[in-house]
Symmetry: D2
Subunit: 132 residues, 4 copies
């Protein structure tokens, strides 16, 4: 869907749309995974051990959501805004992935969420490599 609608944008510029589409998709998927993981943690018996995980999930969801929206826009933007935000997304995804990985053996949602964060981190780095 992201690809479908970006291909109809009057300013979409062939070449790097693949990397952009991937980054936007990963940002929105990661935001959803973090929102769900924070909520699943709230229902776990070892909730007290998951406080940092919930906190970083909530931060990562906010950053990924904002990054996905800004990256989706193609009209008259400032590449410096996009780059700075994507860089902050890399940092939020890494922090959240590292925390989720500590709980991945006991909680499947942390394992799935860590994978979503790692995927988003990579897609953000790929976008940074093709934008300047």
């Amino acid at each position: 869907m992201i690809r479908a609608i970006l291909m109809t944008h009057p300013l979409a510029r062939g070449a790097d749309v693949g990397v952009l589409v991937r980054c936007v998709e990963e940002c929105f998927e990661c935001a959803a995974a973090c929102t769900s993981c924070a909520d699943a943690c709230l229902a776990e018996d070892d909730l007290q051990e998951l406080v940092a995980c919930i906190r970083l999930d909530l931060d990562c969801a906010d950053v990924c959501e904002a990054t996905g929206c800004v990256a989706l826009r193609q009209t008259a933007g400032e590449v410096s805004v996009l780059r700075a935000l994507v860089e902050s997304c890399v940092i939020a995804c890494r922090a959240c992935a590292e925390e989720c990985e500590k709980h991945a053996e006991h909680h499947e949602h942390c394992r799935v969420c860590a994978a979503a964060c790692r995927g988003c981190l990579q897609a953000c780095q790929d976008l940074l490599a093709t934008t300047r």
Copy 2:
């Protein structure tokens, strides 16, 4: 991904997860489509004719994003909050779809966005039919 992480939730309850997953997915897809359509409209020559489309896109994106997040949460919620929000999502999606359809012949992004709104509207109605 939405399905994958919801299946790992300690409180996910088999039966109606399919309808829920579909609603959450459609909400996030519709939010992305509306964000992209608003931005694509800004780059069109007939921008002046697209003012209502941009406005309704922005509203619909906000409502769909909130609805997707609330629907995703399974822990200790209030079904009355979910139902009222999903009902407002139906109304926002219908208003946005109707406006986008007026421009669908001239702008592919409006056509794609209208389809996303119609898909989300249906998924929201299906969720309402299975929740009370």
Copy 3:
């Protein structure tokens, strides 16, 4: 600030701006209060008793944020979208206030958050009474 910028809007229509400004302000204040209360709950010793509070805080923050944004927009909107969303905001604020009030004696942040929810609920009802 909300009043200041709404007064500069080319379409702002004198009469009911007071009620609108109050609703928008209360929505954004309530979203912030809920975000902070959820986070403060995560740091409390009786975290296990606060799970429903955190959940309803997160839902209420999402609904208030979306409602504030839609209410702020004055150009070419659909009053049915605004009304439905404001109605869902009333329900989210009431649910969150009732839960926070259960913990208000032990946790000041729950007391402050409940008051913010009650203020937002009232401002939303006042807006509904002047819009159709």
Copy 4:
């Protein structure tokens, strides 16, 4: 309100709360100003000249909203996430302020929005100076 609820947080740490409160308040005010300015621009006769302003308003609103939420959280966070996001907020606010200032003579909402962006930019820089 931001100050009131932060003062009730079990982890709020006296000293730099003033700078933090100011940053959070400015982020949410700036997000509201940008949302309103984008919408007011849509109602102007010279809409075609305001496309970049609308785009940067929307980006700045997204970044400020995320930054306000992450800054508001005090429990178990990662200061590197906050710093990176606040830095991206500085860049988004500067880009939006510079664009709004081009239209400030003709449009009061652009003047008010530019001032909100400048205020937020300063509050973000002050927070960066006290956090590490």
